[in-house]
Every structure is written in C-alpha cells, then in structure tokens.
Symmetry: C2
C-alpha cells in the first residue's frame, strides 16, 4: 500500500515538499487502535529500540548489582547530545564497571549540541566514543556482560549473550516467533526490523510493570535521554511525565503512554526526522498529552524562516485528527 | 498521481527508507522525452533557478559593462560553500560595482565547507552575508541594478525591475503566459513555482545560444558553482564539461546538456538532497555523461557506513534504466 502524506511543507501558497509515513497505536490488549499506512513491512526502529535494549540491564539484575539509578537507565535509553551532563555520567559509569572508553564498540562523532561542539573545536579537542549519542546504551551492554562475568569484547555482535537477550525480550514483547531480521546500526550494534504494528504492540507492553523502570527514568530525565532543546526532551516535558518518547534515525519515533496503556510507533518512509517529530507531536496532541508550551507547539506546527529571519512557509501535520 | 520510488536505502537485507519523486527531460523542440511521476503540479526549483536568474546580468549588458568574466557568472549561478575562493571573489566583485556587504539582502550562515567553518570557529570569526551560499546571485542582482542606475535597495523584492526581468525571462523560456506563483527563498529573493515539465523545457532552452555563457561559466568553474567536493562540482567534472548541473534546496536538481539539447528537472517529493543527488547521477549515466571516477560513482550508488566505519547498507537508484 502507498503510505499517506502525513506532513506538508509550504512556501508561499505552494506545498513544496511532503512526507509520507505510517503510524500504529496499540493498546495493552495488543489491539491496534489507530492505524495509518503500511503496518506490515518490517522496518528498523533504530534508536527507538533503546528502551527495549535497556531491559536486560534491569532484568538481569545488573543495574541493581552496580547500584545504577534512573540517570544511568535514562542514558541507556538515550540518543544523547554529548553534552557534559551526558559524557561525565557515562565516563563515571564506565569507571564503576571497570571498563574504559576503548571498550565501547561505537565510533566517535561530534557533540550534537552546537555550543559544546564549537567549544571543543575552539579548544582543539576531538570527540571521543563517549560523545557518541549511543554511548549510554553501549555502557549498558557492557554492564550486563560484566554482571554475567562474560567477555565484554564482541558485546555488540549478534551472537553475544547480551544481544541474544535483547532479541529474546523483543520476541516476547512483540509476540513474534521465528526469525527477526536484523541490520547493523550506526553505532555498530544490531538493530531488529519488525512490522510497525508489532512494534506498537511491543511498546504498549512497556506501559505495564515490565516497562515501569525505563519509563520512570526517561520521564524523570528527559534531557539525559536526548539533550538541551532536543525533540524528545521538549515533548516529554510538555507531556509532564505522562508519556515517554524516543526518536530513532531514518524517521522512526516511538511513544509509551502508561496511563492509557498505549504504545505508539511512527515511521516516515523517506527517513526525515523533521516529519517524525511533527507526527509524534500530533499523536501526543491527539491523546491530550501535548502542552501548550511554545517549544512543543513549534514541533507540531513550525514556521519556516529564511536566513533573513522572515517567515516564508510552514511545516504542518495533515491527516491526523 | 503518486510519484514512484526513485531511491532506496538499505540496511542489512531490508529496505529502510525510500524517496519518491519526479523527473522530466525535455529536448530543444520542447518535447518531453523522459518522464517519471508528477510533471504538472507547480514546484519550486529553488537554487536550480540560478542559471536563469543570472540571465538578466548577461542580457542587460551589465556583465560586460562591469567587465565580469566566467568566474563571476559561475558565482552568480552558485550555491557556494563560502570557501575563500568564493568569498574573496564576491567581495572583490561587490567592490567593483561600488556596493557593500550590507547591501546584500541575504542573511549570514556558516561556511558549508567544514575545514573553513571550523577554522572560523577557532579564530572566533562570525560568518558574514558574503558567506551566504547565494551571495554571488545577490551580487549579480545588485550589478544589474547598478547598470540600470536604479535603486539597489529592495532589489530582492518581487516588484523590483531586476526580479521582474527574471520573471519575464522565465516566462519566455518556459513559454508560460499568465501568472507564475512565487514564494520567498531561503536568501530572501523570490523563487518561482512551475510544473516540472515546464522547467525541463526552460532548461532545454539554455542548451542554445541564450544559455551559452552560463553553461560555459558553470562547466569551466564547477567548484565556484558549488565548492570543494560538492555534488555539482563532482558531477560536472565527471561529465567533463558536457553537462551543467545545479542543485536546489528541498530535493530539486536541474541539468543542461548542450550537445544533446536536453534539459533535465528532478524533484524529490520529500525534499531530500541525498536522493536528488543520486537521481541526477543516474540521469547523467543514462545519457552516457557520467564518468567512472569514484567520486561520481559514489553519488550514483553509495555504501552506507556507521560510526565504526563498517558498511551496513547502501543508497541506490531504482526505476531509471
């Protein structure tokens, strides 16, 4: 099926660009209660998988054994901006489990927070693997390996017990038997492809006790999950703790709404984050979870300005009532 | 009509994201000789319009009166990276016509060439309007106003004679009578929306004498039209001067092929430049204009690597034989 247009960008009186995609919302009884577009073709959740990838850390007892709190759990679920609030905590956590930066399998990339990235350039500092937006997730993986007292080397390989534990949990949450296809994510860890309907059902499962700790950690520390001014932080603050949301690369976005028992999964077919952000804001608004704060409203409906500061068009969501 | 998928991005064995779009190729007899997707809805060419926006500079006699050469014409057609090769030439040109940086209506943004952007951050230098990728186009507009001895202030307004001259030329090239809708571009100048078929026909007209000077300037100075390593430069160098190509924002790409009398217009519906780049490479390959150099071949078909440097998928063009 052809995915419907979910987001339009205008310039003057013309629609300049459109984004197509699909949306699935499941309730805690595994019913699909809202559906748009293709829910059947396997797609990668990318970093939206992190709240599920963090479950072995909790369920293995590793988090408790190493005395980890909500801040570390939030970082395990994070695509962070590499700000000091993230890097100092990841560095301390690595030290606590007796690991080094060089144990991280992810590569380095600059901080996503411009003032930090620019300050590092001015100081002649190179980004490290700890600056990688996934460094918290990887430190979580290492923590599980440490707790199980198994090899940390190769922890990001599909055959490693930590990745197999994630695959097992994902199969349970999505109630999928049989093989789940995987690809390698930007950070070198496996990422698993599932139909959007199955993903919404898996996230809906996290509204119950199994997801309690990740949801609490994410909603308590929205900036640790993302960064200063980032979409996840703005939307979680706007929702006042009533929803945990997590972006993924290539236009994915996941939401967990405990009080309604809902799991939300969004995939923009062309991979545009600008569209996924707007659609998640619209879905939160649909369920009465979006506040009227300017930052959140600008994610929902955003004026497009030019380099001279003039408003020349807008980005808006269409087709979500 | 629904635009076909033109580009796929894979990860592992899964297609992760797709880009839909339309392509029109017209010959010098105004026949559409290749068509994919919607050619009828008006779309903005954005910066792909620059070779046409440069025509008043040539046809008014302003370029000759101020002794401008191919380098300045190339800059008038450019979305440049704000490298010293661009900024020093624009600054000298402004001086030659007796204008100041503050006469430019475009805003400032950082250089798009990372080593320059980083060097400026290290030196504590702020980008100026001359760094704006459109500063050559704007200096061209100012040059026409100077030549006509009319007010330069407001040269970017739709009612100014320079913009009206562009609109007149565009109407002639596209053979459109009646009103052409416009919007305001990122640089504050008007941009005009036309159906893709009409745009291909207009670019095909530039394969004849009317386009000779812009095509010569662009193909002689590919890096002045874009910048070090940028797609337009790579593709024009790969084509060995046989095609002039020009990107536009939001997934537009235009090509002029004098020896075949062809005008090419591409619009990716979701605005993705990564897809427009690949489709232009495929169109050049289709007409035997793409060399086998690695840089150009990587625009056509590109491995996707992660932060650890591993190949995890690819970007490829589909449906263009």
């Amino acid at each position: 099926m052809t995915n419907p247009v979910l987001v339009e960008l205008t310039r003057g009186d013309i629609v300049e660009s459109v984004h197509r995609g699909s949306v699935a919302v499941a309730d805690s009884q595994r019913r699909i209660v809202f559906a748009l577009g293709d829910l059947d073709t396997p797609v990668y959740p990318r970093s939206s998988l992190k709240p599920i990838q963090a479950l072995p850390l909790i369920e293995s007892g590793a988090a408790d054994a190493f005395g980890l709190g909500d801040e570390e759990i939030a970082l395990a679920c994070a695509s962070h901006s590499g700000e000091p609030m993230h890097t100092t905590r990841v560095a301390a956590w690595l030290k606590r489990i007796g690991c080094l930066e060089s144990d991280l399998a992810c590569g380095a990339h600059p901080s996503r927070y411009e003032p930090v990235a620019e300050a590092m350039i001015r100081a002649g500092e190179k980004p490290t693997r700890i600056h990688n937006n996934c460094s918290g997730k990887h430190t979580g993986f290492l923590t599980v390996a440490r707790h199980w007292d198994i090899a940390t080397h190769g922890y990001e390989q599909i055959g490693h017990p930590v990745q197999q534990a994630i695959l097992q949990i994902l199969s349970e949450l999505a109630e999928i038997s049989g093989e789940i296809p995987y690809g390698i994510d930007g950070c070198a860890a496996p990422n698993f492809a599932l139909p959007l309907a199955a993903q919404a059902k898996a996230f809906a499962k996290l509204t119950a006790s199994r997801g309690e700790r990740v949801v609490r950690a994410m909603t308590a520390h929205p900036e640790l999950v993302s960064g200063t001014g980032r979409t996840c932080a703005v939307l979680m603050r706007s929702a006042g703790g009533r929803a945990a949301v997590k972006t993924g690369a290539e236009g994915f976005f996941a939401g967990i709404v405990p009080e309604l028992g809902l799991g939300i999964a969004i995939k923009i077919e062309d991979g545009a984050g600008r569209a996924a952000d707007a659609v998640m804001a619209a879905m939160l608004a649909k369920y009465g979870l979006l506040g009227d704060d300017e930052a959140a409203q600008k994610i929902l409906r955003c004026p497009i300005t030019n380099t001279a500061g003039e408003v020349v068009g807008e980005r808006r969501v269409v087709g979500i009532g």
